[in-house]
């Protein structure tokens, strides 16, 4: 049985905050294929293109026929837990601080024997299990064996929680509560068990649709935040930065059109000011303090979520300057991810297709509802993935882009 997570006591501000340390992160280049898949929430192993043999650990050639045609293929993960141990003594600082730690050895139905982190809900060996891939605190892909059937408090497993960014009992900053997306995120993050949600809103002297409902929720605290104003970001970070466990940047400025249909750069600059420089301002003020709290107990700082756009992958000329600002934000988020990793804080990028809001009024269906987008954000936090492409349009563009970025560019320009 997995004991349910309990609400952490208020932190004693006099006590020292433990420094984040990471589990072993060194990997061969071959092994990074496991990480790349886990970052998308997939469990993939190398499969030989010539003889179909499944390989593990990752390698350069097929262990059976020596072919170098190894392709990363999605796995069901079903297998037999053949042995297990609970480690009480580790050579590694990260694990030493988290002993005891349950491990298993699983014979996958696909062939290989894999060493896994063993979920507390798994019956003692021998038992059927389902192996999946997760990112650990170092951001590298690792294998976890789960019970075949869902058990009570599944997500509360102490080891699993090290690999996810579950909002339960965490404190969350949603940077813009004015939009439909921002409000849907607040609702869903509260439903997922967040303890406290700070909701930023620019121009606090103005009212906006949904404000009353938003502010009425007991977990919500409304705070002025304007991402185009460095001082505003700094002030808020000074006030709550040391307490934010999850930052969800929902603020964005979206106007239609490309280059020729508008004169001047004011709109493009305004988009950049929120979508790119806004992220940069947030990252400079909140990044360092969140990164220092990556091991701050059960409800440590754990994730930073960026609302990007599928247009960040390839420019959509009808929303050309917006696409460019999101591409800039994507690039910056990769820098942020690299800088947050030593602090064990995951950067999650969300790439929705067109959202069903006023700035996509002229965009044909299907469009993503704010509610669906918010659910995808919460799912990404619970799964601890790095990149998520919610909705049919985003999924389709992603596939097209993966297959041929150049072809997608041509398709979008017609």
């Amino acid at each position: 049985m997995i004991p349910p997570l309990v609400r952490p006591k208020l932190k004693n501000p006099i006590l020292r905050t433990p420094l984040p340390v990471l589990p072993p992160w060194m990997r061969s280049r071959a092994a990074l294929g496991l990480t790349a898949a886990a970052a998308l929430g997939q469990f993939r192993l190398q499969v030989c293109g010539e003889c179909d043999a499944v390989q593990y650990p990752p390698r350069e050639c097929c262990h059976s026929c020596l072919s170098d045609q190894l392709r990363w293929r999605e796995q069901s993960g079903s297998g037999e837990l053949i042995s297990e141990t609970t480690v009480h003594h580790s050579q590694d600082l990260y694990f030493s601080e988290r002993m005891p730690w349950r491990l298993g050895m699983v014979r996958l139905d696909a062939g290989p024997t894999v060493v896994v982190h063993l979920h507390g809900g798994c019956a003692p060996a021998p038992a059927r299990v389902r192996v999946g891939a997760r990112l650990d605190k170092s951001g590298q892909g690792v294998l976890v064996a789960f019970p075949i059937d869902e058990v009570l408090n599944m997500a509360d497993d102490r080891q699993l929680r090290e690999m996810t960014c579950d909002p339960k009992f965490r404190k969350v900053l949603v940077t813009d509560g004015k939009t439909g997306v921002g409000q849907a995120v607040v609702r869903n993050i509260i439903a997922a068990g967040a303890d406290l949600v700070w909701v930023g809103y620019a121009e606090p002297w103005k009212t906006f649709a949904g404000l009353t409902e938003l502010a009425a929720q007991p977990q919500v605290a409304m705070l002025p935040l304007d991402l185009t104003d460095s001082q505003s970001v700094k002030t808020l970070a000074a006030e709550i930065g040391g307490k934010v466990d999850i930052l969800i940047n929902t603020a964005e400025l979206h106007r239609a059109h490309g280059i020729a249909s508008r004169s001047g750069i004011e709109v493009a600059r305004a988009e950049m000011d929120v979508n790119y420089f806004g992220l940069l301002r947030l990252a400079q003020e909140f990044g360092p303090v969140m990164r220092s709290r990556g091991a701050d107990g059960q409800s440590s700082a754990t994730a930073w979520v960026n609302l990007l756009s599928i247009y960040a992958l390839s420019n959509y000329p009808r929303h050309g300057t917006f696409s460019a600002s999101k591409a800039a934000a994507l690039s910056l988020s990769q820098c942020l991810r690299a800088e947050m990793r030593p602090g064990a804080v995951r950067v999650i990028n969300v790439f929705p297709g067109p959202i069903d809001d006023e700035w996509n009024q002229a965009t044909p269906q299907p469009k993503l509802t704010p509610e669906a987008l918010a659910k995808a954000v919460v799912r990404a936090l619970k799964d601890g993935v790095e990149d998520v492409y919610p909705g049919d349009v985003a999924q389709e563009w992603l596939l097209r882009w993966q297959e041929s970025p150049k072809t997608l560019e041509r398709e979008l320009s017609t």
Binding site: P23, P24, W25, M26, R27, S28, A30, A31, Y56, P57, P58, H63, I82, S83, E84, T85, T86, V87, H88, H89, S90, Q91, D92, Y94, F95, W101, L103, M105, R107, T113, V114, V115, V116, H117, A125, P126, D136, S138, Q140, V142
Partner: protein, 393 residues
Amino acid sequence: MPASGKDRDYQDVVLVAPVTVPYTRYSIRSAHWFVAQALSRLLKESRLMKADIDGMSLGSFMLAPDTAIGLTQHLGITVRWLDYVPLGGASGIVALRRALRAVQAGDAEVVACIGADTNHVDSFRQTLGSFSVFARDAVFPYGSGGPNASFAFLTSYYMRSCGATREDFGKLCVAQRDNALGYPHAMFKKKLTLDEYLGARLIADPIRLFDCVMPCAGAEAFLVMTRQRAEALGLAYATVRSTCERHNAFPEDPIQMRGGWVLDREHLYGAAGVEPSDIDFVQTYDDYPVMSMIQIEDLGFCKKGEGPNFIRRNSFTVDGSFPINTSGGQLSVGQAGCAAGFLGVVESIRQLTDCNLARPVPGARFAIAVGFGMITYDRGLCSGAAVLGRANA
């Protein structure tokens, strides 16, 4: 494929001058120092000059960035045959096999076989994290328990499938400690009781403290030369009746319940002209007691899965039935890196030449020294063994 059994025998080559560089838990010396000490002791023991050594086989993990070649200049020796066998627990058996053939072929006359390693305070952790690509990618990120966790899987599996109990493993550990009490170089000098074994600190369930070897610094070494040369020098020698070596045996087994010995034991006994019942003592590779049990089974002393009963029937002490690890084994002597792969060979030579430091096995004529090692992912890849004999056996 099992070995053919038609190899050339080893009648004209012998093992002499077993030496040990005393172990310490930690050392500020480099592995080079331990190699040099071992060579110096070999010369003293054999009364040979440095110039007489024309071959060297070296097993060590801690020489980096050097390998065996760097040591020739470091030690100031000129050799015409050189081998580097960083194969951990198998390095002793592999070094012995190659050196024997080199001397038989005339490629060298006297080969110094040396297993030496140092141990600094942080060495073990660093070695674990960089031991192999597979370990770095697929084992170390999982709890970083090192071999303790790997053998916990195997011990647990073995207990479940063969009915072994903690008491069974404990009996081996207690008996080996008893043997170690007579050996001056053992790191553990206190008697171990079964209660102490059973109640020791948990390391990786079901493995507890006294199932684990203590990493330390030290060296083991011996010389290989022709029988003629040994007799001319008046050196006591042990003979080699047969050997075997196998790497990555049974890769399809889901977990390592057997090693390469299963493929090679027929050849091992056939070429030696002896039966398991002729063997007077065995130096198992006891990095964990479950491996001793598996080796006892795989070398044909009992059937697979009958290890627990075999343990209940025997005493394993030097003066009892089925003596194993007569100087205490790694579990009591300590594990000095690659030297651990030489420990059983060196102790066997001592026993078979009456140059004992440990208590002698009365009337011993034949012995088996086992090599096992290199857990690069989920199992030890190397297995080897040698049947050794008394000069007149």
